[in-house]
Amino acid sequence: MESLSNKKKVLEQKPLSFMERIYLPAIAKGMGITISHLFKKEATIRYPEVEREFSANFRGMHSLKRDENGKERCTACGLCALSCPAEAITMIAAERKPEEKDLYREEKYAATYEINMLRCIFCGLCEEACPKEAIYLDGPIVPADYLRKDFIYGKDKLVEAPLEMKK
């Protein structure tokens, strides 16, 4: 029957020629290809020692930012937790005392701030939701661990180092 699309190709199965039947030329050709790969640069990156360079918009571990005076920017408004599709973020807000003025930028701050890294899908919606520019996913890859409880990161791991320590 005539094919309508005219795309049909008749498969031609030729019997092997003599050179193909004795395998050797093909084998020699193949061995030439593999030996040429011996001298090529390997694609492997030795991960813990060497890290691949990430693109500029790579989303890794979260960090809670400080402002130019070293005060924590987060006001515990909860928008990040609300926007999180994986429900990975929880926090407890507290009121700033007068003597804590140098620690927190606004009167309200996050007393505890926890991200469950097993739930997090690194979508970056918390980053987008934050009105205070307090959270960014600009860290490295979250490392592996043995226990589930160790994947719940608190403020000790999330908050940026203080200014003087940075210098």
Partner: protein, 345 residues
């Protein structure tokens, strides 16, 4: 028999045994490294510098694994299988001349455990015995896949044994001796047999790939069809023995190929080196040359394994019976005619 002779042979046997085990050990490492580099990877590099301790780590792992003996297996044969495989692999090294006689003190020591006058036949016997370990292990496992694999191994060995024997006959027409020592001495300097018997060498090499169950002839352990083949039921160090036996087999067949066709410990300019180094060190240098050839063949085994896909079983049989055997017979006839013409004129 004097004690000096016994001590001398004992030391030689111990050294050769040790060397073949170490080479087999590091062949596993080399295999992984060669595979990696041929595929643009790095291979094992975590245990020690460049992963040099990897074989020790692997060995330790093998020993620590749980040992499972299936309840339906024939227990004694199941245990005997790996041992037999390793034993048959090791005894092949006994007749290979590792170097020309060496002067130690005032004594001339031959670097060969035993120069029997049927050395080539002995090698053949040992190589074909090697399949018993596989057969017994596969049969004793009482598992369909293992049994199929054992049958494959046996029929493959029988098929390729013939072509191998025929390719050797052409060589023996030239050498007129079965003693490996004499065959090596005839290849003094650069008169390597491969220059006179290229076709014979090619057939011999293809057959030794088949005899050692290496890719592309590794049908007995073809994972896609037979799970693990004859060692499906094996675990722990018994599996380790089978894998080890494969690498020792590879080492022995590399040594045999180097001895029969590539001049053994002979190399161009060896007379000059002999006067330069003296009767103690020159044989050792020859041994080093032999090992360099052996290492090249081991590398070649690996290179082929990571290049060529496995043959289908009917292709294997076709190649053996319709390809290699007629070629080997043609090789004998050509060799015979050429020798007859040379002797006539």
């Amino acid at each position: 028999m004097d004690t000096g002779f016994i001590i001398e042979k004992f030391i030689l046997v111990a050294v050769i045994f040790g060397i073949s085990l170490v080479i087999a050990m590091y062949s596993t490492y080399a295999e992984r490294k060669v595979a990696a580099y041929l595929q643009d990877r790095l291979g094992p590099d975590r245990a020690g510098p460049f992963g040099i301790l990897q074989p020790l780590a692997d060995g330790l792992k093998m020993f620590m694994k749980e040992e499972i003996i299936p309840t339906t297996s024939s227990k004694w044969l199941f245990i005997a299988g790996p041992g037999l495989a390793l034993l048959c692999a090791c005894i092949g090294t006994a007749v290979i001349p590792w170097g020309s006689p060496m002067l130690i003190g005032d004594k001339i020591v031959p670097l060969q455990v035993s120069d029997i006058n049927v050395g080539v036949l002995y090698i053949f016997g040992v190589v074909s015995l090697g399949v018993y370990g596989v057969m017994i292990g596969g049969w004793a496992s009482n598992n369909k896949y293992s049994l199929l694999s054992a049958i494959r191994a046996a029929s493959q060995n029988i098929s390729y044994e013939i072509a191998m024997g025929l390719s050797i006959i052409a060589l023996l027409l030239m050498t007129n001796t079965l003693s490996l020592k004499e065959i090596v001495d005839q290849q003094h300097g650069w008169h390597w047999n491969v220059l006179y018997q290229p076709l014979g060498f090619l057939i011999f090499m293809v057959c030794s790939f088949a005899e050692t169950n290496r890719a592309p002839f590794d049908l007995p352990e073809c994972e896609t069809e037979l799970i693990g083949g004859y060692h499906t039921e094996y675990s722990s160090m018994k599996l380790g023995f089978y894998l080890f036996a494969e690498y020792i087999n590879m080492f022995v067949s590399s040594a045999v190929m180097a001895t029969l066709y590539f001049g053994g410990y002979n190399y161009p300019g060896m007379d000059y080196m002999a006067t330069l180094l003296g009767p103690t060190w020159a044989p050792l240098f020859g041994t080093a040359i032999l090992f360099a050839k052996i290492f090249f063949f081991i590398f070649f085994f690996m290179w082929v394994r990571w290049t060529i896909p496995r043959f289908r079983y009917d292709q294997l049989m076709n190649l053996g019976w319709k390809g290699l055997i007629p070629l080997a017979i043609a090789n004998i006839i050509i060799t015979g005619v050429v020798i007859a013409i040379i002797e006539k004129f």
